[in-house]
C-alpha cells in the first residue's frame, strides 16, 4: 500500500472521528429546544457535552489540516469551490461555540433563550451542510482541467444534495438523542427522548434509502464493491441500533449508530476512491489521491507524525470520557460550568 492510499484512509478515519463525535454534539445541540424545556433540563444537556465538545471539534480542525498537508489540491479546490457553503458553516460553528460558552454566564431568561436559538441553529446547520458536502463529493462537481471548481454556489444545492443534508441532520439528531439519554438522569428528558428518537430514526431511514437509490443512479459510488458492502453493514448497524433502543438499551443503540456512522463514512470514501474530487465535466479532470497529493517526502513525514500522535490522542480522549462517565442529574447543576 502506498502512502497516498494510507493518507486517504487516514483522512477518512479523521472524518469518522469527527462525524461520530460531533455527530452527537450537533444532534444534542439541535435538539436542545425539543428535548429540554426548562432551563435546568437544557443545562443538563449542555453540561453533558461540557468537558468534551471542544475536543470533539478538534477532529474537524485536524481533518482540515490533514487534507492541507497530504492533499493540498484537494484542500484548495474544495474550500475555494465550496466557498459560500463553508463560510455559512464557519459562521454557524462560531455561533455554536459562543452559545455553549456564554449562555449560562448570565442569569436572564431572554439572554439564555437567544443563545439557545444560536446553539440550535449552530448545531443543525453544520450537520445539514456536511450532508450536502458529502453528497456533492459522491456525485461530483464541475471541475475544470485546471483543477479549479467551475460551478456556482447553487450547483451544490440540488434536490439530492438537500436530501443528503436532511438525512445527516436526522441521523445526528437520533445519535444525539441516544447520547443525551446515556449522559443524563432526568425523567422529563427521558420521556422526550423515548418519543423523539424513533421519529428521527425512521425519518432518517426513509431519506437514507431514497438517497442511496439516488446515489446508485447518479454516481459511481456503488461500482465499488467495498462501498456496497460497507453501506450494507452500516444499514445493519443502524437497524441494530433502533432494535436495541426499542428494547430499552440506549448503550447498545449508541454503539449501533456509532458503528453505522463510521461504516457509512468509510463507504463514502471507498465509493470515491481513488478520487478525492470527482469532476462531472470530464472524468480525466477529477482530482485523485495521486494528482492532488503532496510529495512523497511530506507524506512520509506526516505518516510518522500521525502514527505516533493519533494513538496518544485517542488514549487521553477515551480517558476523558471515562472520567466523566457518570450521568448528570439536577443536583449536579450547582457546581457545573455551563
Amino acid at each position: 500500500m502506498d502512502l497516498n492510499i494510507l493518507w486517504f484512509i487516514l483522512v477518512s478515519v479523521l472524518f469518522v472521528g469527527y462525524f461520530f463525535l460531533e455527530g452527537f454534539d450537533y444532534g444534542a445541540g439541535a435538539l436542545l429546544p425539543i428535548v429540554g424545556k426548562t432551563d435546568n433540563e437544557r443545562r443538563l444537556i449542555i453540561n453533558s457535552l461540557g468537558p468534551i465538545w471542544d475536543g470533539n471539534e478538534v477532529w474537524l480542525l485536524t481533518a482540515g489540516g490533514a487534507i492541507f498537508a497530504a492533499f493540498p489540491h484537494w484542500y484548495a479546490t474544495l474550500f475555494s469551490g465550496f466557498y459560500l457553503a463553508l463560510f455559512l458553516m464557519l459562521l454557524f460553528l462560531i455561533l455554536r461555540i459562543a452559545a455553549i460558552e456564554f449562555r449560562s454566564k448570565h442569569e436572564s431568561t431572554v439572554w439564555r433563550q437567544r443563545w439557545d436559538i444560536g446553539l440550535t441553529l449552530g448545531s443543525a446547520l453544520p450537520a445539514f451542510l456536511w450532508g450536502v458536502a458529502v453528497t456533492n463529493l459522491v456525485t461530483g462537481v464541475p471541475i475544470g482541467p485546471d483543477k479549479q471548481y467551475a460551478g456556482t454556489f447553487w450547483n451544490l444545492l440540488g434536490p439530492w444534495d438537500i436530501l443528503g443534508g436532511l438525512c445527516f441532520l436526522a441521523l445526528f439528531c437520533y445519535h444525539g438523542c441516544l447520547f443525551i439519554d446515556l449522559k443524563t438522569d432526568n425523567k422529563a428528558i427521558k420521556v422526550r427522548v423515548k418519543k423523539y428518537a424513533p421519529r428521527f430514526f425512521f425519518a432518517m431511514l426513509i431519506m437514507l434509502v431514497i438517497w442511496l437509490v439516488c446515489m446508485f443512479l447518479l454516481s459511481d459510488m456503488f461500482k465499488s464493491m467495498i462501498a456496497l458492502v460497507l453501506t450494507l453493514l452500516a444499514a445493519v448497524a443502524l437497524l441494530f441500533s433502533i432494535f436495541s433502543f426499542m428494547k430499552g438499551s440506549s448503550g447498545k443503540a449508541f454503539i449501533g449508530t456509532g458503528a453505522g456512522i463510521a461504516l457509512f463514512t468509510f463507504a463514502v470514501f471507498a465509493g470515491m476512491f481513488p478520487n478525492v474530487m470527482i469532476s462531472t465535466l470530464d472524468p480525466a479532470w477529477s482530482l485523485t489521491i495521486y494528482t492532488a497529493s503532496s510529495s512523497a517526502y511530506t507524506l512520509k513525514l506526516m505518516s510518522i507524525v500521525a502514527g505516533c500522535l493519533v494513538p496518544v490522542v485517542l488514549a487521553y480522549q477515551i480517558w476523558t470520557y471515562w472520567v466523566f462517565r457518570k450521568r448528570l442529574t439536577e443536583s449536579d447543576l450547582g457546581g457545573l460550568e455551563y
Binding site: D54, G65, S294, L301, E337
Partner: protein, 459 residues
C-alpha cells in the same frame, strides 16, 4: 474593490481579531498553572479562589480564541487556494501537527480542568492546567513555524514538473532562524499581555477594596510577568530588528521610512512618508539612531527603500516591492510606544507592589485599568509590521500575494464573508468584554451560575 484587496482585508481582519485572544490564552494558562501550583504547595484556600476567579476570565477569552481560530484553519483554502497549492506540501504539515499535537491537548485537558475540580486528585487536576499551558506554547511554535516559512522560506526546492515548492528538509523548516526570533518575541509578548491583564484586574479590585490581600498576591505575580515579559519582548525585538535588516531589509526600511541608503542614518520618530517622490515630506529625527537600531553601533551604513527597490527589481523583475509605508511605519511606532509605556508601568508595579504602599497610589491603580489595552495595541502593531511589511510577497521571494489568491471565488462572495465575519466577531467581542467586566464586578464572591449556594464556598 477587487478580490485581492477584499481577500487581504479579510485575512487581516480575521487574523488580527484572532490574535486579540491568543496571547492572553498563552500567558494566562501559564499564570494559572503557576498560581495553582502555589495553591497546592501552600494549601492557602484563598489562592484557590483566585485561581477559580481568573479561570473564569480565562475561559471567556479561550472560547473567543477557539471561535475565531476555526476560520484560520480553513481560510487558506478559501481565499488563498493558489498559495495553498503552491506551498501546501510544506505549509500544511505544521498546521496539521499543530492540531494533532496542541489543539487536542488544549481542548481535552481544559475540559478536564474545568469540570474536574471534584473528580480528579489535586495533583492530576493541576497537571491538566500545566498541559494546557504547555500545549498553547507548542501551538504557538507550529503556527510561527508556518508563518516563518512565508517570511523566510527554507528547507524546500522548486519542483519544475509540478510547478510548486516542495519540502526537502523538515529539520531546516523547524530550525528556521526566523522562527527563533519570532517565537521568543511572541512568547514574551504573551507574558506581558497576561501581566498587564491581571495587573488591571487586581488594581480594579484593590480600588474597590475587595479581598485586597488576595489581589495583592495576584498583583505581585502579575508584576513579575509584566516586567519580565516587557523587558524580554523589547530586548528580543531589538535583535529581531537587526536580524530583519539582514533578511528582509525592505521591511525594516519601510518600518522606519528610511528612503535613501546612507551612513549613520537618523531615526524618524514621526514622518510623513511620500512614496511618489521617494522621501519623507516631514520627519522628526534622532541623529544616528537608525544605525544603532540596525547594527547595535553608530556610524554604519543602512540601505534605504529606494535602493532596495532597485536591487529587488534587478533580482525579481519589474514590480513595486515597497509595502505600504504609512501603515508599516505607524504600526511600528504604536508597538514601540506601547512597549515603552509598558516598561514604565511594569517598573512602577514592581516598585510599589507592597500592599501598604500600593494602596496609597490611587492614580497609578486607576491608570493600570486602561493600561490593560497597551499589550493589545503593541501585539497588533507588531503583527501589522510583520505582515504588511512582507508585501507584496505571500512567500518572501517566491510568490506574490496576487499570485496566491483564489481564482474561482468572486468578489461579492468575499465581500459577503468579510462583512459576515466582521459582524459576528464584533458582536462576540462586545459580549466577551461585557462578560469579563461582569465577572470582575462580581469579584471573588463565588458567583456560581444558577441558584448556587449564596455563601462563598471556600472549597
Amino acid at each position: 474593490m477587487d478580490v485581492l484587496m477584499l481577500a487581504r482585508l479579510q485575512f487581516a481582519t480575521t487574523t488580527v481579531f484572532h490574535y486579540f485572544f491568543v496571547p492572553l490564552s498563552i500567558g494566562l494558562s501559564l499564570f494559572l498553572a503557576v498560581l495553582q501550583t502555589r495553591y497546592l504547595s501552600t494549601g492557602d484556600e484563598g489562592l484557590k479562589k483566585l485561581v477559580k476567579f481568573l479561570g473564569k476570565l480565562f475561559l471567556i477569552n479561550f472560547a473567543m480564541g477557539v471561535a475565531t481560530g476555526i476560520v484560520q484553519e480553513f481560510q487558506f483554502g478559501m481565499n488563498w487556494s493558489e498559495y495553498s497549492r503552491y506551498v501546501g506540501d510544506i505549509f500544511g504539515a505544521p498546521l496539521a501537527i499543530e492540531a494533532l499535537l496542541a489543539f487536542f491537548i488544549e481542548s481535552t485537558f481544559l475540559g478536564l480542568w474545568v469540570f474536574g475540580w471534584e473528580k480528579l486528585s489535586k495533583k492530576l487536576h493541576l497537571a491538566c492546567m500545566w498541559l494546557v499551558a504547555i500545549a498553547t506554547t507548542i501551538s504557538a511554535f507550529w503556527i510561527l513555524t508556518a508563518n516563518s516559512f512565508m517570511q523566510n522560506p527554507v528547507g524546500y526546492h522548486l519542483n519544475e514538473a509540478t510547478g510548486r515548492a516542495e519540502l526537502t528538509s523538515f529539520g531546516e523548516l523547524l530550525t528556521n532562524s526566523h522562527t527563533a526570533y519570532q517565537y521568543a518575541h511572541v512568547f514574551s509578548g504573551a507574558l506581558a499581555t497576561v501581566g498587564f491583564f491581571v495587573l488591571g484586574v487586581s488594581a480594579y479590585q484593590i480600588l474597590k477594596g475587595r479581598e485586597k490581600q488576595l489581589f495583592n498576591i495576584a498583583f505581585k505575580q502579575a508584576a513579575i510577568f509584566a516586567f519580565i515579559g516587557t523587558v524580554a519582548v523589547a530586548g528580543i525585538g531589538h535583535f529581531q530588528g537587526m536580524y530583519l535588516v539582514q533578511e528582509q531589509p525592505m521591511k525594516m526600511a519601510v518600518a522606519d521610512a528610511h528612503w535613501n541608503t546612507s551612513d549613520n542614518p537618523d531615526w524618524a520618530i514621526i514622518a510623513f512618508p511620500d512614496k511618489a517622490n521617494g522621501e519623507n515630506s516631514f520627519a522628526l529625527k534622532v541623529p544616528g539612531m537608525l544605525s544603532f537600531l540596525s547594527y547595535s553601533e553608530f556610524g554604519r551604513q543602512v540601505d534605504g527603500i529606494n535602493d532596495i527597490q532597485k536591487e529587488m527589481v534587478a533580482e525579481y523583475g519589474v514590480d513595486d516591492y515597497v509595502p505600504n509605508v504609512w501603515v508599516t511605519f505607524y504600526a511600528f511606532r504604536v508597538m514601540l510606544a506601547g512597549g515603552a509605556l509598558m516598561l514604565l508601568m511594569s517598573i512602577l508595579a514592581l516598585l510599589w507592589q507592597r500592599p501598604e504602599r500600593l494602596e496609597t497610589k490611587h492614580g497609578y491603580l486607576k491608570l493600570l485599568i486602561p493600561s490593560m489595552l497597551l499589550p493589545y495595541l503593541a501585539n497588533t502593531g507588531g503583527w501589522l509590521v510583520a505582515e504588511v511589511g512582507r508585501q507584496p510577497w505571500i512567500v518572501y521571494g517566491l510568490q506574490t500575494v496576487s499570485e496566491g489568491v483564489s481564482r474561482v471565488v468572486p468578489a461579492p462572495a468575499v465581500l459577503l464573508s468579510l462583512l459576515g465575519f466582521i459582524v459576528i466577531y464584533s458582536a462576540l467581542l462586545v459580549v466577551a468584554v461585557r462578560l469579563i467586566q461582569k465577572t470582575c464586578r462580581e469579584g471573588l464572591a463565588d458567583g456560581t451560575i444558577e441558584q448556587g449556594p449564596a455563601m462563598a464556598t471556600a472549597g
